[in-house]
Amino acid sequence: MEIRPIFSALMRNKTGLVLIALQVAITLAIVTNSLFIIKERIELMNRPSGIDEAGLFTVSSLPFAPGFDRAGSITQDLATLRAIPGVIDATPINNLPLSGGGWGEGMSTKPIDPNTSKPEDSKGTTIYMVDDHGVNTLGVNIVEGRNFNPDEITDRNERDNGWPQQVIITQALAKELFPDESAVGKRVFMSNDSTGSVVVGVLERLQAPWVNWNGVERATLVPQRVLWSSTRYLVRVKPAERDAMMKTVEAKLGEINTGRIVRGLRDYGEIRKSAYSRDNAMTVILISVIVGLLVITGLGIIGMASFWVTQRVKQIGTRRALGARKFDILRYFQVENFIITSIGLAAGILLSYGFNIWLMQVFDAERLAWYYVPIGAVCVWALGQLAVVGPATRAARVSPSVATRSV
């Protein structure tokens, strides 16, 4: 293989070499790091929330009438909702998974004293206040233990502080609190509550409202109806009927009690979309950047190679006249491109890791997994070889007779 002559020819035209190599290097650095970020974001977005999102929607009731009976209205609303044909179940709930707004508490296996307890003594968890229909409405699976009983549901007024006797926690939270044993029947403690609550059930999975929280899998259900200034309901229906049912439910709630505002009607598709809109946006933007870069770099290689072919028409003609086959000319350009790309990739590998280190230092990003750079490098090599095919074919078509024309 005639690498040496190609190489020394290249060294005589360093400008072009440097230009292409630089492009290749930057392209590799951006493509690998972008792919890595995209993969992370897609993994984030694909995590299941544990609930039956396709069949769920939420609606809220905000009373304004003087002397409004909050508890009575919730009872009436729930009875009405559950009686509507097509409604699988409904529950009052204080906050919603994926919604961004929620209630957080520390949970521990020992009573928490804020003055002496260390942060690592307790695990952060979100609190969902639901009634005995909560589990069925959310569509979460109990893997161990049981659901709340109707007689365990208590009312929680605006400034009540205690916790009920029973809680249901997610598997993720149970494993952190009780790594070696079953959590069911065990006592757990939340802020300043010395009596504690007993874990009656363990859920397979239920995410917290905050999708970017590292404890997103740690959630707790407590058997309470909240009697706050506004009440939120979660309603579960058949996925196919959801849109129609939303209108029915909104109208029905407006009808049975005119002393309040029925508002905040949202389906879970919308809630998920807004929870992950930034990650989705980042993914789309990065994909556009990658595509743009590959196209630009590809065009750059084509442009440069075409220019070189034009410059070397005589040289090619002479080589052909001296017996080089078309294939040899083709191979010359492919090899030349391979050398240039490789030089660029060598610099690009350094740049990729440099960029990654910068991202890690400034943005606490993760370390680039090892295989991204080789995969990226293979792609850029392929891009270079593809881009040069056109100009190289044109070069191969140069007639040997060119050599004989005027010098």
Partner: protein
């Protein structure tokens, strides 16, 4: 002479339309991408009230748990307890004080045909309007007397006034909020600082509230914040216990006479905490802070990381596009070595050749810049679609348009320098001999 170079450049660019198109497209794409990300970054990192940057401060008092900071690394809470907020007000150490939280209320229109609606409300002390220079369309904020008398007064946003009063001057009119009659004292004009620097606790780019009501009304109604209430230990039972608790939930700002007053006020904060320590509060080592607007927005990391990464990536993208253009210009200029040689032989100086080719590069730059502007405009429309919430963060304004054009021309000239310089090095004799 310039006109002649311009004509020559246009002729030359027309000769190879594909190559010209590629160069313009490369610069345009690079400029479009970098301008899109830069615009979002610029709007996010803006300081909406620069002329008061040195007199508006956020007092942060570290009353958090002895065992862990409010936020790593050793950040004091970004809100205040009721006790400490009231201590700041009562100390009269600052020229103005704004203490606020948000909640929502039902509004019942007089016309029973119209359904009641929910409004979001900022419950704030009356200095708020003067401190943040809120523009008023009608009327103004409520008076100190009205506030002291616990009168039911309200200031409406422009949109809220449109909705309930059809945009007319509603000052003095009544409005039924949360079951009580409130008198409108003022209507704001368009006002949406970006970022929403005066309260970023529920997101720095959220919409402003619909109405503004006196802070003490919220306390009288025993309300908490509807956005954030953070406690490191249990508040205890009842609203009085909540007010006396270590829970932070109030957004506090002070306005001082001048920048030099900063140290004096921070000194007051420290001596206040010393006093409170004697009462058994503030278990952490002294860690108070008094940031001005700019420092506050920076410390609270208002600019999203993703946006910063996007800016870095898009400038990498621009670099690739420019290197590309250098290559194409080089090919184009050196392809005309014969012409250059001829011109040089006929007496053109290197400087003249330089001017001629740089003109050509600049034309490519201007065309690329214009294309880049169009692409940036489209890119921002895309960003708006993607993020949904970004209405205000994705608008091109005059400074950004000028930056785009400037960046494009500068880029093209930088890209044109090397090829132009190489074109000037063409030796006339060699070129003439070979043809």
């Amino acid at each position: 002479m310039f006109a002649y170079y311009l004509r020559l450049a246009v002729l030359s660019l027309k000769r190879n339309k594909v190559l010209t198109g590629l160069m313009v497209a490369a610069i345009g794409l690079g400029i479009g991408a970098s301008m899109t990300s830069l615009t979002v970054f610029y709007l996010m990192s803006g300081n909406p009230i620069p002329h008061k940057n040195d007199v508006l401060f956020v007092p942060q008092l570290d009353n958090w748990s002895p065992n862990q900071p409010f936020d790593e690394p050793n950040e004091p809470p970004n809100m205040l307890t009721y006790r400490d907020a009231m201590a700041i007000v009562e100390s009269k150490q600052a020229k103005r004080v704004a203490i606020a939280f948000t909640n929502f209320f039902p509004v019942e229109p007089d016309n029973k045909e119209i359904k009641p609606e929910m409004v979001t409300s900022r419950l704030t002390t009356g200095d708020f309007f003067a401190m943040f220079e809120t523009p008023f369309r009608y009327g103004g904020g409520w008076s100190a007397q009205q506030e002291a008398d616990d009168q039911r007064v309200v200031v409406l946003s422009k949109a809220t006034n449109e909705k309930f009063f059809g945009g007319s001057d509603s000052v003095g009119k009544r409005m039924r909020i949360n079951g009580e009659e409130f008198t409108v004292t003022g209507v704001l004009d368009d006002w949406q600082p970006t970022p929403k620097f005066f309260d970023i606790t529920s997101g720095p780019f959220e919409e402003n509230e619909d109405v503004y009501m006196p802070f003490r009304y919220g306390i009288e109604k025993e309300l908490q914040s509807s956005s954030n209430n953070n406690c490191w230990k249990d508040a205890g039972d009842g609203y009085q216990a909540w007010l006396e608790s270590e829970c932070v939930w109030l957004v506090g700002w002070v306005e001082l006479e001048n920048a030099g007053d900063h140290d004096r006020f921070l000194g007051w904060m420290n001596s206040y905490v010393e006093e409170q320590k004697k009462l058994g509060r503030f278990p952490r080592p002294m860690n108070n802070r008094l940031d001005n607007v700019g420092q506050w927005l920076e410390n609270q990391k208002v600019v999203r990381r993703d946006t910063q990464v996007q800016v870095a990536l898009s400038f990498g993208f621009l670099a690739v596009c420019l290197i590309n253009t250098v290559g194409m210009l080089l090919a184009k200029f050196l392809g005309r070595s014969g012409e250059i040689g001829l011109r040089r032989a006929l007496g053109a100086s290197k400087r003249q050749v330089f001017a001629q080719f740089l003109t050509e590069a600049a034309i490519v730059g201007v065309a690329g810049g214009l294309l880049g502007l169009v692409l940036a405009w489209a890119g921002l429309a895309g960003v708006r679609q993607l993020y949904g919430e970004f209405e205000r963060l994705s608008q091109l304004d005059v400074p950004m348009v000028l930056t785009a054009i400037g960046l494009a021309i500068a880029s093209a000239i930088v890209a044109g320098l090397l090829p132009t310089w190489r074109a000037c090095q063409v030796a006339p004799a060699v070129q003439l001999k070979s043809h």
